[in-house]
Every structure is written in C-alpha cells, then in structure tokens.
Amino acid sequence: MSLEAAFADEPAFVPYLAAGDPSYEASIEYVEALARGGADAIELGLPFSEPIAEGTTIQEAIVRALDAGMTPDRYLEFVREVDVDVPLVCMTYYNLIYQYGESDGPRSFVEAAAEAGIEGFVVPDLPAEEAGPLRAACDEFGLDLVFIVAPTTEGDRLETMKEQVSGYVYVQARLGTTGARDEVSDYTERSLARIADWDVPKAVGFGIKTGDHAERIVRAGADGIIVGSALVDIVAEGYENGDSTEVVADRLEAKARELKEGALAGAPVEQ
C-alpha cells in the first residue's frame, strides 16, 4: 500500500512513535495498538543520539529508546517484525541515513529500509536543496520522500520541496518544537493555502492532542493529521508509573481511535 493511498478514501490519521521506546518488545505492541486504533500510516522514529531542536517529549522518548539498545540495524529488525498492515514511514535524522553501510551517501540505508518494509522517509534536518541523493535513492527503491513545510517556509525552498515531495507533505501547523499544545493554531489554514496547488495529500502535524483538534484541522482543509507528542506522552506516563505493556497499549489504541474518529468527523459530508 503506497503512502498516498493511505489518504485516498477519508482523512488519514498518521501517528508517530519512537521505535524501541521504552523497550523493543513493548514498542512493537504499541505500534500494533495504533494500527488497531485506526492509523492509516505510521511514522516510526529511528532514534538518533543528536536530534536537533526536538521538543522535550520526543527527546526523552529517543533517550529511552537508545538506552534500551535501539540502533539502525535493530530498527530494521523492528520494522520486519512489527505486524501491521499500514505503511511505515521512517522518521529520522540525515546523519544516520548518510552514515549507514558501505555506500557514500544515503543509498545503503534506503535499500535496507526498503527491504525491511519501510515505505517512505521524513528527515527533519535534510535541507530540500540537498535532498537530491536521498530522492534518487528513494526513487531507485520505490520509496516516498515526505517534506516538512513550516510556517516560515517560503519562496525557492517551497518550490524545491514541491518538485521533490512524494507520499504526502507534512504541514507544520505552528512554529515550535513538537510539544503537545492545548490550542489548535490558526496557522493551519494559512499553511494549507500556501501549498494548495501541490498534488500530494496534506497532513497537518504539531500540537494535535484530542479528537476535537483533529476534527478542526481536517475541517480547515487537511487531508490527514499527524500526532506524535500526545501519544509519546502516554508511553512516557506508562513507563514512569510502571504500568503494564498491555494497559499502555490499550490506552494508545483508545487515543488512536479518538483521533481517527475526530478526523472522520471533520470530513466534508458527502452528498
């Protein structure tokens, strides 16, 4: 199933979790719970020891996953093992992709990821101007390359992204790192307006916590919603309280369902 197809019939719900947080085994359960709860695609974070400008919530998830032994090779094993029937998108930093394997540049990792079952990449610190080698590797192995459009993205860079993006575009709805917010920003509409003529689905992320947020974002024109911090918070809380994997997985599934239903409720009613 291609990434674009995940958005085809109805507003898509795209959750994020860091693979291996807080342990390999529990994380497998959590990702599968999100799929049961209605995820249409899953952004699966590959933890990197030097994330740049991530919010505290995600930083801490990354630290937990790294402490539990997550590595790029273990990640690929994770992707092969996790039992979900929705596409998995690898979200990570360019350094890991670039450093992996024998090849000069990103080709080795893209090849390995494609073999493991990854369908696309989101790479927050990859400048669109320098995305050529990764785009080429993704094309070679049939993967999508998602770009993040921020409220500050303008001019030439917006054009460069438009030319290279595939799968979906990740629209960042407000400035700031990925901390969950109580309010849905009115940047959404403005951000969507700037990319109205892009021919990929538009998924809006950053700050979505509740089904109500999801509904409002979809109503503002999004083709899908991306939710990270609100889900990572559930993992973190379960970890701190020593809750069982099963209990945390149930909470994630319930939250996923709430978010998916919210997104559906925001969809235009078909006549």
Binding site: S49, E50, P51, I52, A53, E54, G55, T56, Q59, V63, Y93, Y94, N95, Y98, Q99, D104, P124, D125, L126, P127, E130, F147, I148, V149, A150, P151, T152, T153, E154, R157, Q172, L175, G176, T177
Partner: protein
Amino acid sequence: MASDGTYAGYGGRHVPEPLEEPLAQLAAGFEEAIESEQFWEEFEHLLEHYGGRPTPVFYAETLSERYDADIYFKHEDLLHGGAHKLNNTLGQGLLAKQAGKERLIAETGAGQHGTATAMVGALLDLDTTVYMGRKDIQRQEMNVFRMRLLGAEVRSVTRGNEGLAEAVDAALEDLVENVDDTHYLVGSAVGPDPFPRMVREFQSVIGKEAREQIQELHGDLPDACVACVGGGSNSIGLFDAFRDDEDVALYGAEPGGKGLSSGKHSAPLSENEDSEGEIYQGAKTKVIDDDTENHSVSAGLDYPGVGPEHAALQETGRAEYRAITDEEALAAFRELSESEGIIPAFEPSHAIALAIQLAEEDEHDTILVNLCGRGDKDMRSAAEQFDLTPTSE
C-alpha cells in the same frame, strides 16, 4: 570558502525546516551588515572603547630563552570580560539589535561566552538567557555569578553529558520556539551556516591585529601560529589573517583529555583525520567517535564536534591539529604563570603546551600563540590540581 557556507564539503545548513528561513534571514542581515560602513563604525567603536582593543602582542622572554624560540602571545585575555568572546558577542549583538530582536540566547561551556553575551545583553538592552550544562555550572561557578549579576538568566541543562553540546541543543530548541523575537548568539565557529562564517568574521580582528603587531615587534611574520580548538572560534579568528601567508604554519591544539588512546577526550580532528565527517548540530564536520567519552579539563573545549572550517583546513593540509592532554595543558598553565606572571585559562594552556612542543621540535623559530582567555575562572580547579589551599595552622 564558498558563499553557501561550505568549506571543502564541510559545513552547510542541516536544520529542521522551521529554522531554515530564520537562518537565511540572519545570513542576509549579516551579509548586509558587513558591507555597511555604519555597522563597522559602531562595531569598531565598541571594540575599542568598550572592549579595550587593540589587545597587545607580548614577547615572552623567559619561555623564549628556555625553549630557544621566539614565543609571542596575543593578549586576548586582556579583552573586556577576560577572553576573546566579546569580539563575537558585540558583533552579533549589534546584528540582533538591527534586526529588531528583543532577546539573546546563548550556550556556554566555560561561561566565558555566556558572560560576554550577558555583557552585551546589558549594554544593548536585550533580554539574555544562557544555557549551560549542569556539570559546567558546578565547575565554572564564578562565571555563573557574573552572568546573573549582569542580568542574564542562566538555565541549567541536565540532559545527556550536561555539557556544552547539550547546551547548544537546548539553545537551538529555544530558537525554534521563539525565533520571531530571539537571536541565538552562537559562541563558536560551529553549527549551521551562517554561524561559522559570522563568528569568524567577528573574531578575525584577532589575527588582523596580531599580524601587524608581530611585524612591528619582530620585524617579520611568525613561522607558526598556534591556538586552541574546541569549537574553534579564537583559532579561526587568528588563522584567518594568515591563511594566505604560505610560510606561516597554522596549528590547532585540540583537547586530548586523558590521551587519544584513553577514549576520554574531545579531539575529533586528531581522532578522525581520515574519516569523511558526519552531520552534527546542523553542519557537516568531524565528531569524536560514539564510544569516545567527551572529556577535557577545560570546560570551554570539551565539545564533541569542531567548527567545519577547521575540518576543511585539516583536509586541505593548510592547518595541522594535535591533541594536547589535560596533563600537558596543566603543566603549561603552571609554567606560564610562574615564568611570565600570566595566569592563562585552561583553554589556551593547550595552545601554550603545543607551542612548547613545537619549539622543542625545533621546526619553527618564531611562534605566535593566541592567549585567548585569562585563568581567573579556573582558580578553583587549579587550587585542587596544585594543592594551593594553605594548610591552617
């Protein structure tokens, strides 16, 4: 140097999308400012009347005799604040003010850059927040007191190694959140473009002055220039003026910690001379290995990466980098104090140790060392190292 902020393939701007546009704007503002006569007038006026420039070059007679080479020091420790950091904070502070920013944020390791930022924040009436690793707050508390007295908020960074690298991370996060009104005043020639070239531009006054001064004093250019390299701002500031002088060798002293083979150091160039580098904190550069523990006796040098231009200078062979151990640096710290009556900071003590090493190798007759900061901040550590506390009787 290419205008896109890359140096022989190193450098560049690898940042999350929300930072791209603000950094592009910063680059544009910087490029405009350095073409503006008015900017330079104001900057140079402040450097002279507020900062105390020019700083002198001093001939170290005892050391020169002892090691049979002419050893000169660029007295950057005499700059207001006690280190070369003010050159950069004044330059960037003026840029921030011109761009209408209301707030400065900075990372600091030893606290010298944080202090210099706090000074400029007070001078230019900009709110100042300084991120500092908890480990560094403990070992550099005098500078924490100074920053607070100057009106800055010092935020303790408790993640990871609780050091300079983590402070950079925290500051970048703050910038993403507050980019509208905030300027991130980077303290070293590291990070994404335009920071490395901006810091070099403002620090290049060190080399410009020194190049003239040593010709006046000595009658000729030096055979070698030596500076310590953590991120590498004082060294790039010294090297820049000499890069086209082919007969002047350039040497960077990296913090070798407990020795390169100990796995406890912060010397990426010495450790990974032949690697192709990686992307670290927004730029492609050299970084210490994953299993190397980031360590230096000097809080201002224990940074796992290095400024991208140094990686390029090493690769092209224009500069040579050597690791100086904690022990060698401490010995030089003591030697300079006793022989010349100058207490250097632990950071330039690495450069002094390397200069002594070079003199002993007898390759160079005249050696210019950048004495980039004074040692007051290191007194507590020095007292422990050298047992300076008087025994009570």
